[in-house]
Amino acid sequence: MLSLHDVRKTWRQGDHEVVACDVGQLQIDAGETVALIGRSGTGKTTLLHIIAGILRPDRGSIEIAGERIDRMSEGACDHFRGRHIGMVYQTFNLLQPFTALENVLLGALFGRGAGGDAPDRAAALLQRVGLGERMHHRPSQLSVGQVQRVAICRALINEPELILMDEPLGNQDRQTGGEVLDLLLQMAREGNQTVLMVTHDPESAKRMGRTVDLATLRRVP
């Protein structure tokens, strides 16, 4: 499902070159749930952005569902991300002027389309995560846990093959976060979706099928 080979990303800081991410090999099968751990500043978020096609690696190959996204044009990569990848961030990144339902539909708009049955699907997803009564509320009117659930619905609206999460539980208490994560994993299992989650929390990592330490992925010189 997801295959990374010899991926490297560097930044320039003056005359110095800083290695932001260096991965020799990573293979994740369809339906697998993987926790990606590592010390701060080791490039976990950068790696997620590279997998999502938001950042271009300096070198290496990234294959998702049989497609080499590192070879795609920027526009094609955007389309691919919209249709095949769902993303959940630590800060959830909902758009404040839009309601919960509209935020979920935004995911559809830039993915498989917000027309047709998309509004019904979005409403059904929000119902499923217990936000049926609050779907017309704006993010500022929701609790942190509720906002996170909206973000999860937005990630799932296009039924993506791959879900990328960047410390999605970082902003809430462990119990609430755990419940939401369990819900997401259950929904992912139902759809045979692959989940890659960056986390610092060992408890969350335990809920995933496999844990990978980014340090162990470094390319052997």
Partner: protein, 462 residues
């Protein structure tokens, strides 16, 4: 959900800035639309209104434009007076040596008005209803009919007035009795807009006011009150704003008699020093003449040019030149309006461009959801186009609202009664053009927005 709904939401959440930007577009569009509306309607109105006024004979010392504007369009005051002898000469063929065939010659005397609207009260003869024609169509009545006061009555009254005036000037022992305002002359025919504006029906009373209401020295003439006997059908010309009364009423109104004599005066003398006045010495404001052919027109033009007291003006020559001047002014104003529009478009660009920094995260989030650079650009362009469209539509509406509110003032100044609810196809093009202009103005912010770095801006406070 569609891209435009995101644009709309962006406009709504920046309500104050959006309103101010749209207001700039509104003002510029309203200005341009108003210039177009004025220019178009002035042209239509003026071109349509000269029909039937082949030539207007007026005083020698007035400008041709003044004579035409006052006689046909009721603009300003009558530019002067001339002797009724000119009318007699036209009517009897002495001018033109009987070779200039005229369809009609109709005398007019002005100076009075009626109602707060200042509708002009025009003294004339019944030829206005029996002979005057716009094209081939004579004036029709929506209600009632015309009064009777023809050349016979005019000649007899002029004779009596002249005899009386001469006796007064010569201080004869027994003065002839002053001519009386006959009851059958106290009648008025009003134009359609007069009737509509004043809710007038047949039988209503009109009391002429000397000058215009509110002017210094203006006063009512209750002795010359006339009953409305006819309401003209609409002509979409200044005739609709006119009140026609018999010329006899005008001459017999108290105070009109003194200044109404223009006898041939020896050098160094004033007209009041002349002891004998003739019927032809009565003063008129204009004579409407319609030559039957170009031949007659040329003779009239030539012969009147040699007369010391009157001149023939030709509305078909004067009005296009006047409109050309108006057109030139309108063109200059239109250029100014376009410049204002351009500035307004720049203000859109600046207003949206200035929001780009605070919107970097919003754009980055949309990009992370799969939005392409093109879609981001489309959202921002849509926002600019939406503001422009809104401003342009409101601008056109504001223009028509202003036309409604100011139509009285505009008529007073130009003689054009603005048809405020006449929307032109050009206004659709204007709205379209302004929308496109606004969208073009949004290009710079759109380009900036589409190049927002996604990864760097996904975290808050980045």
């Amino acid at each position: 959900m569609r891209l435009w709904s995101i644009s709309l939401r962006s406009v709504r959440i920046r309500a104050v800035s959006s309103s101010l930007t749209a207001l700039a577009i509104l003002i510029a569009t309203a200005l341009y639309a108003a210039i177009m509306l004025m220019a178009d309607q002035t042209r239509q109105r003026y071109e349509g209104s000269i029909c039937g006024f082949g030539s207007v004979v007026g005083p020698k010392d007035a400008s041709q434009l003044e004579i035409v504007l006052n006689t046909i369009f009721h603009v300003g005051h009558a530019p002067g007076l001339f002797r009724m002898q000119v009318y007699d000469d036209l009517r009897t063929g002495r001018i033109g040596n009987r070779r200039a065939k005229l369809r009609y010659a109709i005398p007019q005397a002005r100076g009075d008005s009626f109602s707060p609207f200042g509708f002009p009260v025009i003294g004339t003869t019944d030829a206005m209803f029996t002979a005057f024609a716009r094209g081939e169509v004579k004036l029709a009545f929506a209600d009632g009919g015309g009064w009777q006061f023809g050349d016979t009555e005019l000649a007899q009254l002029a004779q009596e007035l002249a005899a009386r005036e001469t006796a007064v000037r010569q201080e004869t022992a027994t003065l002839p009795p002053p001519p009386q305002l006959r009851p059958e002359w106290r009648q008025a025919v009003v134009g359609s807009r007069v009737a509509r504006a004043l809710s007038m029906d047949l039988g209503a009373e009109i009391v002429p006011v000397h000058g215009k209401p509110g002017e210094f020295g203006s006063h009512e003439h209750p002795e010359a009150a006339c009953k409305v006997v006819g309401i003209l059908a609409p002509t979409n010309s200044p005739i609709d704003n006119s009140i026609f009364v018999p010329l006899g009423v005008h001459f017999l109104v108290e105070g009109h008699g003194k200044g109404a004599w223009l006898p041939e005066t020896p050098p160094g003398k004033s007209p009041n020093d002349v002891l004998e006045v003739k019927p032809g010495d009565l003063a008129l404001s204009a004579v409407i003449v319609d030559p039957l052919d170009h031949f007659g027109a040329n003779i009239l033009r030539r012969e009147l040019s040699t007369r010391p007291d009157a001149q023939a003006t030709w509305p078909a020559d004067v009005v296009p030149k006047f409109l050309q001047q108006i057109g030139s002014i309108a063109d200059v104003l239109a250029v100014i309006a376009w410049l204002v529009l351009f500035v307004a478009a720049v203000s859109i660009a600046v207003a949206i461009y200035n929001t780009m920094n605070e919107r970097r995260r919003e754009i980055a989030i949309m990009r992370s959801l799969g939005a392409t650079r093109t879609q981001i650009s489309a959202i921002i362009l849509g926002e600019a186009a939406l503001l422009s469209f809104l401003g342009a539509v409101l601008g056109v509406l504001a223009c028509h609202l202003a036309a409604w509110a100011l139509r009285g003032v505009v008529e007073e100044l130009t003689g054009v009664w603005l048809d405020w609810h006449a929307f032109a196809v050009r206004e659709l093009y204007l709205v379209g053009g302004v929308t496109v202009l606004g969208a073009v103005a949004g290009l710079l912010p759109a380009i900036k927005g589409s190049f927002t770095q996604v990864a760097d801006n996904l975290a808050p406070n980045s």
